[in-house]
């Protein structure tokens, strides 16, 4: 840095709070809301008890001062029109009419919950009460806690999220293979970061179907990649149908047809084994099933994969060679393979490649981050303790249908089975729903119109959120207002470092998610909450901190003194026994080795080796359909302005990203007569939506990529508009009810579509009207697994 600043002094390193002119500065960590997978060090500049603005904390080595645009606009986020201030109720017959919400007290809200809990339990049993949770941020463990330990039901789901298609498919693959969750090492496992004595910069960073610069996945800040490029000379391999900023700077970039990832990864393994570039020592000492795997990839020549993936076989070779020979290789998380039926296998192939090149728990490679870090416990799964008995757990939806669920690969229910239950009453009627931190018809649920219809069947729906959303407008009967991050005492015990954040402000009658856990717990299960000594949010967080394997302090110590705890984490723990529960060297798998041939999958009747399968709809698997829908659609790419469906109400975000956009190749656009910036219909076999065309060279010909999560807070909140939630919703086209063979992963990112200009003639019936007034786009149908189990004709 040219200017010499003593940042530690200027920013009061180690202090919780100080005065800076007219502002009281409060140190903390932003996590949720607004949502994010990460949790950066923050300085909240407060005036008269309200946030004036926030800055990044230069003294916290995780982000060292840096912030995303979203965290630089928190004042607008928090004090916007539409923020919820009080509990509200509405008669279920008035769903879709936002004028019918009526302010009530928290006591009245609790009484209403009790009345409905009693009624539903009486008629259907307690397991017909369920929770819905959204993506991974600081509103995950709270939902299982409420539903399991307050309501005493075993049923919590990712919100109608077919195939649990985020992180869980990847975790299923890596947990079965390695017993853990690999996270690319960019020094984040030690406070000294890049200066940690054993740290080494990755030689190669493999970026597969992701833009980490925008997505900042769990325990990973995207800009650590640019740090590694600048400070360590790391080279990039980028696999993506789109050209992103990193592709343009990559040593090797390959654009592939969406959904063909597993084929490409198998071919890379083929090259590494065939050219004898693999790490013989690591393979001999620490892996299991190499011969079977080598035999398996023998036929997967780059030529074979390239034909499938519409790419150049030599690029596959170049990428494989670089990954194998250029020092450590780190592979950041990208969600796109989670959102494919073939995703578990794609990850299996990619992470086998990391294994045969020796890239686990090595500096600059991939750290095996759980379970010693308490990740599962503090994330979605809730806890092992709690009130659920084996009999209660037996009523969880999805365990019978899916073997990986039955052996505990997810502590949540299976969302495709929930959809089936809502639509048919089988295996049981599901009647009362508690949603917290999710806005499913806007974002998480594929086939959104179908999800809307399914959720309309409920007797009673509670939604906790911080602002009015389409889900609340359309579906909520009781609304509970949620505190922002700096309005809650909270804890991040999810990867490293452990962080605690203090409540420094109160907004009207909002409560934090933790306060709601305790309030509902004490009301509906006081015996249990007495037993664990939890009377307040602070008690709750203290209980959690003390149950964690790695943290030793009390919550009070963490909250009011240390603020964070970043224990030393040496490398190569498989050599020292740090990865296994029994303390022996090796990995937490049945053989103690990384299983290239996965014995657990074999034992459950699943494929022990990664096999490529075409998406359910594709140019190859459905050639007739492809004639009518000649473009492959992918979706879900991130941007800097929005976290999924959030931030659409913020004028500062809409200033740089005003409308939903579908990226289409210049040549495809020319053939279709589509101009840049014009509104087009994107239509698939299940439904259609409208977005603006972004005509670009930056996407491969034959493929389009459409935005997700769009709604329009400025439009009418009443049905059928519901803030325009269905008009541009790409989930009108994505499938539900058809998860992959491992039960994890569904084809969000590889369906077929066509695109045509919007005209007044073809726009008479908009998707909102189609969904709300005309019963939706299509009748429910189910993929092979659900159909087989429940006796439907498979689609």
């Amino acid at each position: 840095m040219v200017t010499d600043h003593n940042l530690d002094e200027l920013y009061h390193k180690g202090e919780l709070t100080w005065q800076d002119g007219e502002y009281t500065v409060e140190r903390g960590f932003q996590w949720t809301p607004p949502g994010c997978h990460n949790s950066c060090g923050m300085l909240y500049y407060m005036k008269d008890g309200k946030l004036d603005h926030a800055e990044g904390d230069p003294c916290f080595p995780y982000n060292n001062g840096r912030l995303c645009a979203r965290c630089l606009n928190l004042e607008e986020a928090a004090y916007q029109e539409g923020r919820l201030k009080y509990p509200m109720k509405r008669d279920p017959k008035d769903r879709g009419d936002v004028s019918k919400f009526e302010r009530i007290t928290w006591d009245e809200a609790l009484a209403l919950i009790e009345k409905n809990l009693d009624e539903v339990t009486e008629k259907y049993g307690r397991a017909s009460v369920f929770g819905l949770v959204g993506t991974g941020r600081n509103i995950c463990w709270q939902v299982p806690w409420i539903v399991n330990n307050a309501f005493k039901s075993p049923n919590v789901f990712c919100a109608l999220f077919s195939g649990d298609s985020c992180a869980v498919p990847r975790t299923a693959a890596t947990a079965a293979m390695t017993g853990a969750y690999p996270v690319p090492d960019m020094g984040q496992f030690n406070e000294a970061r890049y200066d940690y004595p054993d740290f080494q910069f990755p030689g190669t960073i493999l970026i597969w179907g992701a833009n980490p610069l925008k997505s900042n996945a769990d325990c990973f800040q995207g800009y650590w990649i640019t740090d590694c490029m600048k400070k360590g000379g790391s080279k990039l391999v980028v696999i993506d149908p789109m050209i992103n900023w990193m592709s343009a700077r990559a040593e090797v970039q390959i654009q592939i047809r969406p959904g063909t990832d597993c084929a490409v990864a198998l071919a890379m393994n083929h090259v590494i084994i065939e050219e004898d570039l693999y790490d013989h020592d690591f393979v001999d000492c620490w892996t299991y099933g190499f011969d079977e795997f080598a035999e398996h990839v023998k036929d997967w020549t780059p030529e074979r994969a390239a034909e499938i993936a519409w790419c150049d076989p030599d690029d596959i070779r170049k990428a494989a060679r670089l990954i194998a020979t250029n020092g450590p290789c780190a592979a950041p998380f990208g969600v796109s393979n989670d959102q494919k039926r073939n995703g578990v296998s794609a990850y299996h192939a990619i992470f086998n490649m990391m294994a045969i090149t020796g890239n686990y728990d090595n500096p600059g490679g991939n750290i095996l981050a759980y379970d010693p870090w308490g990740t599962v416990m503090s994330y979605i799964a809730g806890w092992d303790e709690g009130v659920l008995t084996p009999e209660m757990k037996a009523e969880r939806l999805g365990d019978k249908e899916f073997p990986l669920h039955s052996v505990g690969f997810s502590a949540l229910g299976q969302p495709d089975v929930l959809l089936h239950a809502l639509e048919t009453g089988e295996p049981r009627p599901m009647k009362m729903c508690f949603m917290m931190g999710t806005n499913p018809i806007t974002n998480m649920a594929p086939d959104a119109p179908r999800a809307y219809k399914a959720l309309m069947t409920l007797d009673f729906t509670i939604v906790c959120d911080y602002r009015m959303t389409p889900t609340i407008a359309g579906l909520a009967d009781l609304v509970l207002p949620i505190s922002f991050n700096w309005e809650r005492n909270t804890l991040r015990l999810w990867f490293t470092p452990v962080r605690a954040s203090r409540k420094i402000s109160q907004y009207y009658e909002c409560k934090s998610d933790e306060e709601i856990v305790v309030m509902l717990g004490r009301r509906f299960n006081p015996e249990f909450f007495d037993k664990i000594g939890v009377h307040t949010d602070i008690d709750m967080l203290d209980y959690i901190v003390k149950s964690a394997p790695n943290a030793t302090e009390s919550f009070d110590q963490l909250l009011n003194k240390d603020m964070y705890c970043w224990p030393d984490r040496p490398y190569y723990q498989y050599k020292t026994g740090g990865l296994r529960a029994d303390g022996q060297p090796g990995f937490q798998t049945p053989t103690g080795r990384i299983e290239l041939w996965v014995s657990m999958f074999a034992n459950l009747g699943l494929d022990p080796l990664p096999n490529y399968e075409e998406p359910t709809e594709s140019p190859v698997s459905t050639p007739e359909l492809y004639k009518e829908y000649p473009l492959v659609l992918t979706t879900g790419a991130r941007n800097f302005e929005f976290f999924h469906s959030e931030q659409r109400e913020q004028p500062h975000m809409r200033a740089t990203y005003p409308w939903p956009r579908v990226r289409i190749n210049v040549e495809d656009a020319k053939e279709l007569g589509i101009q840049d910036g014009e509104w087009v219909w994107i239509e698939g076999t299940r439904g259609r939506c409208q977005q603006k065309a972004l005509v670009t060279e930056g996407i491969m010909k034959g493929v389009v990529e459409a935005d997700h999560g769009w709604w329009f807070p400025e439009r009418d909140g009443n049905a059928p508009s519901l803030y325009g939630v269905f008009e541009s919703n790409i989930n009108n086209l994505t499938p539900n009810g058809n998860p992959g063979p491992y039960s994890f992963g569904a084809d969000f990112r590889s369906v077929l579509c066509k695109i045509y200009k919007c005209t007044p003639e073809n726009s008479e019936i908009l998707p909102g009207v189609q969904t709300v007034e005309k019963g939706g786009f299509h009748e429910p149908d189910y993929g092979d697994i659900i159909s087989m189990y429940y006796g439907h004709d498979a689609k």
Partner: protein, 110 residues
Amino acid sequence: MSKKGLFINYEMCFGCHSCEMACSQEHKLPAGEFGIKLTQYGPHKNVKGDWEYTFVPVPTQLCDLCGSRTATGKLPACVHHCESECMEYGDIAELAKLLEEQPKSVLFSL
């Protein structure tokens, strides 16, 4: 006092908008007004077959180099928050040396 400027390495700027937003927040600018504005070239495959994809943020007439912040020793809001750490603030003469060390960079004198 020597004249100050903003240095930006545009090989490493990845277009995160943090400089724009930090500036808007610092100066309480309404949406659509900018003290610094991102420009973009690409993605485009050039005649040599290489991908062009470059961002350069350009300070506007509203940029005052964060005079009141820098007076207290703080960095300008944009430099403080830049995600790729590709921005520098300082004496123009000093920053000019960086131009030589870091190809694909620019220096704004305001």
